[in-house]
């Protein structure tokens, strides 16, 4: 069951909006806006779901973080959802598409701006898969 949600994003307003919505739904929500602190935060908070932005300090920071999660035996099964405008803006390179296909823990992508109802549907779907 998903209870702890970690959002990794450098847009503080967007984090605030998601925090308001997910905390109102009784999720235990934490966030990290610095790319270099993302992995230690995941290791200490041990989230049930990671909401991950792509473009942070680098154009593809989120991909680097996803790769680090996937390379870590203890973290690789935590579901990850990309919340990003990156997929809409940029055409994924073949290398990026191939990378994402390898990450079994990536459960979805929501393009910003995000409707709360769409986030809710995705979280519930992952929760069902998790339990099912």
């Amino acid at each position: 069951m998903i209870r702890k949600v970690l959002m990794i994003d450098d847009d503080l307003d967007f984090i605030d909006a998601c925090r308001g919505f997910l905390e109102a739904l009784n999720y235990d929500f934490q966030s990290e806006s610095r790319e270099e602190d993302a992995l230690p935060k995941i290791q200490t908070f041990k989230p049930d779901l990671i909401l991950l932005d792509v473009v942070m300090q680098k154009e593809t920071s989120g991909f680097d973080i996803a790769q680090s999660i996937f390379n870590d035996a203890e973290l690789k099964n935590i579901p990850v959802v990309f919340l990003t405008g990156y997929f809409k803006k940029a055409r994924l390179t073949d290398k990026e598409s191939e990378l994402i296909r390898q990450w079994a823990n990536v459960k979805g992508v929501l393009d910003k701006p995000i409707k709360p109802a769409d986030l809710l549907k995705l979280v519930r779907r992952i929760d069902e898969e998790h339990q099912g």
Binding site: G20, E23, A24, N26, K115, P116, A117, L120
Partner: protein, 129 residues
């Protein structure tokens, strides 16, 4: 018995998101997607509080629903929170405020609404009821 909140709004995404939040807080939630359905259902089933959108089939439908609720002895004491994006959507230079004659509701909140603001308004108006 959980308090029953009616959401009368034609935006299913908004209703679904708000409904999930209210259920997480222990409220019972009923939905209606237009003014007529909302009025009929509230008259039939009763409600402890109503969240009412303004722009539905008609641009000012929520105002009409609020007045109808106020005219009916069975529903006139149910607190109504009006939720509206009308000012932004119609680019109006003014907002709306609760007013006994024209906008007979407890409070008007502008969309998008922060969940904590909505929940506080609901709690306060349920207490006053």
């Amino acid at each position: 018995m959980p308090k029953k909140i009616f959401i009368i709004d034609d935006d299913p995404d908004f209703s679904e998101a708000v409904s999930a939040i209210l259920q997480a807080k222990g409220y019972a939630v009923e939905l209606a997607s237009n003014g007529k359905e909302g009025l009929d259902n509230v008259r039939r089933e009763g409600a402890d509080l109503i969240l009412l959108d303004v722009m539905m089939t008609k641009k000012t439908e929520g105002f009409d629903v609020a007045r109808s609720l106020k005219r009916d002895a069975a529903t006139k004491n149910i607190p109504v929170i009006l939720l509206t994006g009308i000012r932004k959507e119609m680019n109006l230079p003014f907002g709306f405020e609760a007013d006994d004659k024209w906008v007979p509701v407890q409070i008007v909140l502008e969309k998008p609404i922060k969940p904590e603001v909505l929940l506080k308004a609901i709690e306060e108006n349920l207490q006053k009821k």
